[in-house]
């Protein structure tokens, strides 16, 4: 297992994040007082039963959803109070998304899908095309650049989606169950790719998953239940080396305590 990178690589710092959905007079608390730090160079897995708040947390970390309470820093920038129109800029600059359903554009080829992500960032023409080719090469799809999504296997589609997520060279990759729709071989290829992107390219990769096959690849595993972060495991530590959070203790700075062991 790869050694964890130093703490100076904190790219996401969340403190007291809560999310409450209101439906008429009814309030639904999806997240409660979550504190967490995400580090560059690590593949962090987020696990928990359905409805535990994983996707809500991922959406908040990705600046797609606003927290009802708490503070979120991405790359040292406090994004909590940023106006709505500033959030797309943060997403373009800092974040790449990988989705369970791939969310590729069916009318565009693999290379065009990646180039579109460049286009969103204002990079066009030959520069975008060349970069798309490089990224597809990086994910091992140099032979399928001109294939349309309908002609790709699930694993290939997810690799195109990862290449697309890398288009803006983001320091943070957020993946929502990227292996859920894949067979074991494809799933392994995808998780190995995400691990490589974390370890070799110093990206912070956060992956929501239910898939037990990927546990061995994660550097950290965060467990959520009922909207609370209840437990964290360092995947490479001996069995039993887990850190339990006290529910409701928003100030528990696991990361610093955890790192002190190394």
């Amino acid at each position: 297992m790869t050694t964890l990178l130093p703490l100076s690589g904190t790219v996401i710092r969340a403190r007291g994040l809560s999310k409450v959905y209101c439906e008429g007079a009814t309030e639904l608390r999806a997240l409660s007082n979550v504190d967490m730090d995400i580090y560059a160079g690590q593949l962090t897995l987020m696990m928990g039963p359905s409805g535990s708040g994983k996707t809500t947390l991922l959406s908040i970390l990705g600046c797609i959803l606003r927290a009802s309470e708490g503070r979120l820093e991405l790359l040292g920038e406090d994004v909590t109070a940023l106006p709505e129109k500033e959030l797309p800029r943060i997403r373009r600059k800092a974040i790449g998304f990988v989705f369970q359903g791939f969310n590729l554009f069916p009318t565009l080829t693999a290379a065009e899908n990646v180039a579109l992500a460049m286009d969103v960032r204002g990079v066009r023409g030959d520069q975008a095309r060349k970069r798309a080719e490089e990224l597809l090469q990086e994910v091992g799809l140099q032979d399928r650049m001109h294939a349309f999504p309908a002609d790709l296997s699930g694993g290939q589609k997810q690799r195109v989606a990862i290449a697309r997520a890398l288009a803006g060279d983001p320091p943070i990759l957020l993946a929502d169950e990227p292996t859920a729709a894949l067979d074991s071989t494809s799933g392994r290829a995808v998780i190995e790719l995400l691990q490589r992107l974390a370890h070799h390219h110093r990206r912070a990769v956060v992956m929501v998953t239910h898939d037990p096959r990927v546990l061995a690849y994660g550097d950290r595993i965060l467990h959520l239940e009922d909207g609370r972060l209840v437990r964290e495991e360092a995947a490479h530590l001996p069995p039993g080396s887990t850190r339990h959070f006290r529910i409701g203790q928003g100030t528990a700075n696991f990361a610093e305590e955890f790192s002190a062991k190394f």
Partner: protein, 376 residues
């Protein structure tokens, strides 16, 4: 972005064909309605616009061409004596009965002018010559009305107001807005055909050419001071009054314009529905774009580009269809005009229509929650 807009638009060819059909239908409908409106307005004032007269003198309160009222020939001499008048010609417009060779009767508008004067003469002569109406009973009619008037060639005979008439030539494309075709003849012949009730009142209009050094406005002023009980209009003024009367006072123009407006509304609705359906079909992709950091403006540009592509292609097909319809109308009873300015205007209208139609989709895309991308 351009690629995505194009690919998404053309990807579902059946839907795109429906979109194009809607646009073409709407544009052709609008073109026909506006073309008819233009054709009608041009037709109503044809004789004025081609008269080559700078000024038209009409009996007081005669608002438009087709209801000319007889007045005294003395006014003609008063006009001639007015400073700034280089030439003045007597002109008659009056309704009469045309008795066909087979005995049938049609209502016609007799136009009497002085052949060779250059003022108030018919144009687009396809057979014969204007000067031939100098002959006793010589008349010119339009080819469009051959069948209606029961004549087919030069030399054919008929009766107008129980007076003999002989076709000495044909014009081409001179329509009447009323159901009564124009029959051109000399002023002298026209008196026989229209038989003015008074010996004194024998003309309906005086066509005036201004002398060099005088503006029509100056001569108009001089005439107003010297000739009583008449109105004096410049050619454009009288043309406008006539057009306005037929188009707006009678409601004919309003009906046509309303139909054109309906075409626009139908077009917008059809295009809006199809662009909206296409947007909804790709709504998850727009959500993905938003999640990727695309701004609303970026998404608007995709939709507007699709709208413009739809407009330009729809316009192209509509022009082809309209071209054949316009060509066909030249031989029919109702003239549909499509001048260059209208062609250019229709392109902008098509783009406006499609962008207006895209606004519904733009509104939808603006409200997309990018978090939708995480839902299954």
């Amino acid at each position: 972005m351009t690629l995505l807009a194009r690919r998404n638009l053309f990807h579902d060819r059946i839907r795109f064909a429906v979109t194009l059909t809607g646009i073409v239908f709407a544009l052709v409908l609008i073109i026909i309605q506006f073309g008819l409106f233009l054709g009608f307005t041009t037709t109503t004032s044809n004789n004025i616009d081609h008269s080559k007269a700078d000024l038209w003198l009409v009996f007081h309160s005669v608002g438009y061409f087709d209801t000319g009222r007889m007045f005294s020939e003395r006014k003609y001499y008063e006009v001639l004596a007015t400073p700034g008048v280089e030439q003045a010609e007597k002109y008659i417009q009056n309704f009469a009965y045309w008795k066909k060779p087979d005995g049938g009767v049609e209502n016609v508008q007799v136009i009497g002018f002085r052949p060779g004067s250059g003022l108030g003469e018919p144009w687009n002569i396809s057979q014969g010559a204007v000067l031939e109406v100098k002959e006793e009973d010589g008349v010119l009619v339009d080819e469009l009305y051959k069948e209606k008037l029961g004549v087919s060639k030069i030399g054919d005979r008929a009766e107008i107001g129980n007076h003999r008439a002989r076709v000495v030539g044909f014009t081409q494309g001179i329509r009447s807005f009323t159901t009564s075709p124009f029959v051109y003849t000399s002023f002298k012949n026209s008196l026989n055909y229209t038989r003015p009730q008074s010996r004194e009142d024998q003309l309906t209009y005086i066509l005036i050419k201004t002398a060099p050094g005088f503006t029509p406005a100056e001569v108009q002023k001089n005439l107003r001071e010297r000739v009583s009980d008449v109105d004096i209009y410049t050619r454009d003024e009288f043309s406008r009054r006539t057009r306005f009367y037929w188009m707006f006072t009678t409601g004919a123009g309003l009906a046509v314009l309303t139909a054109a407006l309906m075409g626009l509304v139908v077009g917008i609705a059809v295009v809006a529905q199809t662009i909206y359906a296409a947007t909804m079909n790709h709504i998850r992709e727009y959500g993905t774009l938003k999640a990727m950091g695309a701004t609303n403006r970026y998404l608007y540009r995709v939709l507007i580009e699709q709208a413009v592509w739809s407009a330009v292609l729809g316009y192209g097909f509509a022009m082809i269809v309209a071209h054949f319809i316009v060509q066909g109308s030249e031989k029919g009873g109702a003239l549909i005009l499509m001048p260059l300015s209208m062609k250019i205007g229709m392109l902008f209208l098509a783009i406006f229509m499609c962008i207006a139609a895209a606004l519904v989709s733009i509104n939808k895309v603006t409200r997309i929650d990018p978090a939708m991308v995480f839902k299954g």
